[in-house]
Amino acid sequence: MDNLDEVYNELIMEHSMNSYNKKHLDKADYSEMGHNPNCGDEITLEVKLDGDKIKDMAFSGHGCAISQASTSIMIDTLKGKDIKEAKEIIKTFIGMIKREIKDEEELKKLEDAIAFRNVSNMPARVKCALLAWHTIEDILDKRENEGTASIDCCHK
């Protein structure tokens, strides 16, 4: 890692230390904890939906600058998006961190979350950057499964 400032940039530092997204939602539809047992990073993600739209999100917990900033910036990026769009963005972010997606046009949809692209140069920190994104993936998967479960129910 030659240039640390590419990872610990202004945006990431600001979000990691003073995030306005670090709070609790009034009535969250989903609350899910994500953790990296080896490093002790722990976040709880709260999500409020409005139909297929992510209406609001917030997080609590503790961890390194990268995990905290990644969570906060993810919230900024996904808030207001519909679920299909959000899933696309999540896939792109994970692809970027794993260096599978490099196309600039494609990365544009990540908005501010593109700030994490250089984390891929720090293999030990990749899991910190991905923690929140895997957690929201879990939440959306859970919602999808609930959806099919209720359809099954109606067919009985």
Binding site: M1, M13, S16, G40, D41, I66
Partner: protein
């Protein structure tokens, strides 16, 4: 004499290696001994009647004798080879603990134990409905005599204690603990993983019942560990792993077991690891523990002095230098240790960050994790200077964002 020159990796890479508490680097002599073994003596010990296998047996068994002398064991068969300290501790927990602990007995360990000397005892305590009690540290990160005497009771059957804490560097008064535990009728298991690289161990003088360590923290290769146990204890224990070379007679339905030490060494062993460990002991002895202690005292004291000057640091170590070994845990106030470690890494300074396999200790201290710099014979004041410079850099990067 430049010790660093004996360690090829420190010549090949421009790093300040401050993670010897995780694993030490290896001197050329150890690397050569392993390669010589494969070039000249490789065969499966204890298996063949031909001369080469006999020779392999000889170097393998001679190393056992060397280790017995190194820690002053009474009998060479009290030395059992394992994969690492963790496996040695599991062997004790399964083959001694599960067989001898009964309902309502007490197992006592310290809050600073590595998970390897903690999780196996949870298993034993849960299985046998025994109690697992903890000796806690005082504000000086040490176990007080009162704490030792209040936790080890007439009901205590096993005491597990680390000689040196892998997080705090505290040197525990194991002489006192062993004496007191014996008075109460308990056995003592000493985890010497963090002490044996740095100080002379004499199992008879200590009167330790069991003592374990890993080779890789004391210049030997990865994957070789040692279990020392008093002969009368080991003799009465059931085997841990079953298979080849640990048996006497095998019938269709029954087996009688080999005597010590083979009883506890099932299957083909890590012979190159054993050879490497022997060479590591030769290296340590040629340097001598007096010299090792002198080098480390100088470097660790210098490090403590320099780190204490950085007022943005929290340090987790005892004020009593004589009770402190070669590990220093610290945090930049308000900055997560992983971020610090990444910034240090960019400066070529290798430190560990995390909970150091000691989550209960972290919880007790009210923190998630720490950075840990650990030192060994090849470290120099320049390494400390690089650490301090990198810490200043990390602090300056975070300074304007820190909220405490």
């Amino acid at each position: 004499m430049n010790i660093k020159d004996d360690f090829p990796i420190l010549k090949n890479r421009n790093i300040a290696y401050l993670d010897s508490g995780a694993t030490s680097q290896k001197p050329q002599a150890v690397i050569d001994a392993i390669s010589e073994f494969y070039k000249k003596c490789n065969a499966n010990p204890h298996r063949g009647a031909y001369a080469l296998s006999q020779e392999a047996t000889e170097v393998y068994e001679n190393t056992r004798t060397k280790i017995a002398e190194f820690i002053n064991a009474k009998h060479r068969e009290e030395i059992i080879f394992s994969k690492n300290a963790t496996e040695s501790l599991n062997l004790i927990a399964y083959s001694y603990g599960l067989e001898n602990i009964e309902k309502d007995d007490e197992i006592v360990i310290s809050i600073m134990e590595h998970h390897s000397n903690l999780v196996p005892w949870q298993k034993v305590a849960k299985t046998k409905q025994a109690k697992l009690n903890y000796m806690y540290i005082n504000e000086n990160f040490e176990l007080s005599d009162e704490e030792i005497e209040s936790k080890i009771t007439d009901k205590t059957k096993i005491v597990g204690i680390t000689h040196v804490s892998n997080v705090l560097g505290t040197i525990n008064n194991i002489e006192k603990i062993i004496k007191y535990a014996h008075k109460k009728g308990a056995l003592v298991i000493v985890d010497a993983s963090q002490s044996i690289p740095h100080m002379k161990i004499d199992v008879q003088a200590l009167d330790a019942d069991f003592l374990v360590f890993s080779g890789h923290k004391m210049l030997a290769p990865l994957g070789i560990g040692v279990l020392y146990g008093k002969k009368e204890l080991l003799d009465n224990m059931t085997p841990f792993l079953m298979g080849g070379d640990m048996i006497e007679y095998v019938y269709e339905q029954d087996t009688t077991f080999a005597s010590l030490p083979n009883k506890f060494e099932a299957g083909t062993q890590n012979v190159e690891g054993v050879i490497g460990l022997g060479a590591a002991i030769d290296y340590i002895e040629s340097l001598g523990y007096d010299k090792i202690e002198q080098i480390e005292r100088e470097i660790v004291h210098y490090a403590i002095e320099e780190l204490r000057k950085l007022n943005f640091l929290d340090l987790y170590l005892t004020k009593n230098n004589e009770n402190h070994s070669a590990v220093i845990s610290f945090n930049i106030k308000g900055v997560h240790p992983h971020d610090v470690a990444s910034i240090l890494d960019a400066e070529g300074v290798c430190v560990r960050s995390g909970n150091h396999c000691a989550q209960p200790l972290m919880r007790f201290l009210g923190i998630d994790s720490t950075c840990r710099a650990s030192f060994y014979i090849y470290n120099t004041k320049e390494d400390v200077d690089r650490l301090v410079e990198a810490l200043n850099k990390a602090y300056n990067m975070f300074k304007k964002y820190i909220k405490i």
